[in-house]
């Protein structure tokens, strides 16, 4: 996904001289082609997330549109106050690109995984939140980011597919990945692609779920969510993020406000010392977020909810 970001941004910068790239000590050679093409609009700054967010606010108040890239968890945890005040309250056009969203850096352990970034950024005033699932979806969203009037966070997940063959999500619109009946699966980011991988297992288990993917959590397509929920018997929310504070919370809060109540299960991560370190896909499976483990988690939720409904 980093590659897709780099190429898309370069394309956009060719047509828009307001676009500036700011990196926070990224890996060697990152964005080298952008640097070669636009040396005046390329900054590789030191290990200083707080400064970089403030500096980007200054660039934006000068009429530029900075895209700031850092490791997702560093920039959201360490520079939270700068995100909140400098770009959130001041409503400036700064784009924060968080690499390694979710469990991508799980080999490095809990200092590097970004599992509460969405929960934090939901609290930042005016902050748009994009969680693309594929490289092509990221490219589509990036196009809309230029004119977005305010700050924006884009969560990158290294290793995402370029395309999963499904429809491409747009800013503020839920994306229907699968028509179905009974269970409604709601997801965001790369996990949405992982659901299509296990579709066959769900069908074999006797289910025909509807799958609704959210590529942006703000703007949030509450209308599509409510409509889909009204037609569903039960809801299963899946995200590569802590179960609290992210998409699952948003869905439950939105439906509660709309007085739509359905049996609901949240599948996601939790802070668990025994699962804080390990290879990405292996850890993802432990939380029920990939492959057969994901299918099992969904099937278990369906059984449980059916039992609960019968009681």
């Amino acid at each position: 996904m980093r590659e897709a970001f780099s190429k898309s941004l370069q394309r956009l910068a060719r047509h828009d001289s307001r676009i500036v790239f700011v990196g926070c000590d990224l890996p060697y050679n990152s964005m080298r082609e952008f640097q070669a093409a636009f040396p005046q609009r390329f900054f590789m700054e030191g290990i200083a997330e707080q400064y970089v967010v403030g500096m980007a606010a200054g660039l934006a108040s000068g009429g530029l549109i900075p895209y700031v890239q850092s490791t997702a968890t560093f920039i959201t945890r360490r520079a939270f106050e700068q995100l909140f005040i400098d770009i959130g309250l001041q409503q400036l056009r700064v784009r924060i690109i968080g690499s390694g969203g979710g469990l991508v850096y799980s080999e490095f352990g809990p200092t590097h995984t970004a599992l509460e970034d969405l929960a934090l950024l939901r609290q930042v005033p005016n902050m748009g939140i994009c969680v693309p699932r594929t490289g092509e979806e990221l490219g589509r969203l990036l196009l809309s980011t230029i004119e977005w009037d305010g700050p924006l966070y884009i969560r990158l997940s290294d290793g995402a597919q370029e395309s999963d063959g499904g429809p491409i999500g747009e800013m503020g619109r839920a994306c229907l990945l699968r028509h179905g009946k009974g269970a409604l699966i709601i997801s965001t980011g790369v996990v949405s692609s992982a659901i299509s991988d296990i579709e066959e297992l769900l069908v074999q288990g006797g289910h025909n779920p509807e799958v609704l993917h959210f590529s942006t959590l703000r703007p949030f397509d509450s209308a599509s969510l409510c409509e889909a929920a009204r037609n569903a018997a039960q809801i299963i929310i899946i995200e590569e993020h802590h179960r609290d504070g992210g998409l699952g919370s948003m869905v439950i809060e939105t439906l509660a406000d709309a007085k739509i109540l359905r049996p609901t299960t949240r599948i996601g991560t939790r802070f668990e010392p025994a699962l804080s370190c390990g290879e990405h896909l292996e850890i993802s499976a432990k939380f029920g977020l990939r492959g057969p483990a994901l299918a099992q988690a969904i099937l278990a939720a369906c059984v449980h909810q059916r039992t609960a409904a019968l009681r």
């Binding site: 005046q40 609009r41 200083a48 400064y51 200054g58 660039l59 900075p66 001041q90």
Partner: protein
């Protein structure tokens, strides 16, 4: 260091302020008294002469600043001094008196800490410390990218320099050789809980700026002639500049000058004001 201390000790107390400096102080106290709200009085009183020199002579600032992108910019990073900023902006015609009269009323544009309001001359939301300098570095870079001739000024407190984000920004300002950036340090030697020298002594602060790579000027911060010279005489090196202003917290508050009294507090009554100034 000895020199700096000497400047402060030699500075006359209160009666050296001219009529305009005194009128701005009186205006601040009267607004607080009339509105019956608390405010940061002494942090404002240490920076009034610095602001007057900036707004009289340094800043290229059209009356309607919004939308004019080659204007000079001033950020009050120590937002706690904003009563001084409001009063000076009112004096310069950027803030209408009726807005200052409504200070801190529900829905009013001006609060006890400043929020970004370009048309009123307030360039950044501050008050949480350590935010202004990184923003100023970005503004100085934006001017360079946009090929605009704007100068960026940012005023920080000496207590505020406890915040590490300032130093992240300072290192990068030097890396980018930002000759259009001037940092003013309000060295009033007091912070919220007591004297700077007790809370976090930084006797090396002036030397530190020089060591990092800044031009450094050191001036008595209520002396407008000295401030003018530091801000207007061009320096030979294309580097960012720091002007360390030796000030007195609560300057003009008679017996309370130089103390932590009135850092934040309930407004004086209108009757009390003459005895305070």
């Amino acid at each position: 260091m000895n020199e700096a201390t000497k400047v402060v000790q030699d500075a006359p107390r209160g009666d050296d302020l001219d009529a305009r400096s005194k009128a701005i102080r009186r205006r601040i106290l009267e607004v607080l008294a009339q509105r019956r709200v608390g405010g940061h009085i002494s942090p404002a009183f240490s920076i009034i002469e610095i602001l007057l020199v900036l707004y009289d002579e340094c800043l290229r600032l059209p009356k309607d600043a919004a939308g004019i992108d080659d204007r000079d910019r001033f950020i009050l990073s120590k937002g706690h001094g904003c009563l001084a900023l409001y009063a000076v902006l009112e004096h310069k015609g950027l803030i209408p008196p009726e807005e200052l009269d409504r200070l801190c009323s529900v829905g009013a544009p001006l609060g006890v800490l400043p929020e970004r309001n370009i048309s009123r001359g307030i360039e950044a939301t501050t008050g949480t410390l350590g935010h202004g300098l990184p923003i100023a570095v970005g503004m100085a870079l934006a001017a360079r990218i946009n090929e605009k001739n704007s100068n960026i000024y940012v005023l920080v407190g000496d207590g505020e320099l406890n915040e590490g984000a300032n130093w992240e920004a300072a290192f990068h300002a030097v890396k980018h050789r930002l000759a259009n950036l001037t940092i003013l340090v309000d060295r009033n030697r007091q912070q919220s809980s007591g004297p700077v020298e007790n809370v976090l002594p930084m006797p090396y602060m002036p030397a530190l700026w020089r060591e990092i790579g800044f031009n450094v000027c050191h001036v008595p911060g209520h002396d407008r002639r000295a401030l003018r010279e530091a801000l207007l005489v061009p320096l030979p090196d294309p580097r960012p500049t720091v002007v360390i202003c030796e000030t007195t917290k609560g300057k003009g508050l008679g017996k309370s000058e130089g103390s932590g009294e009135w850092h934040y507090g309930q407004a004086p009554s209108l009757n009390e004001i003459p005895s305070l100034l």
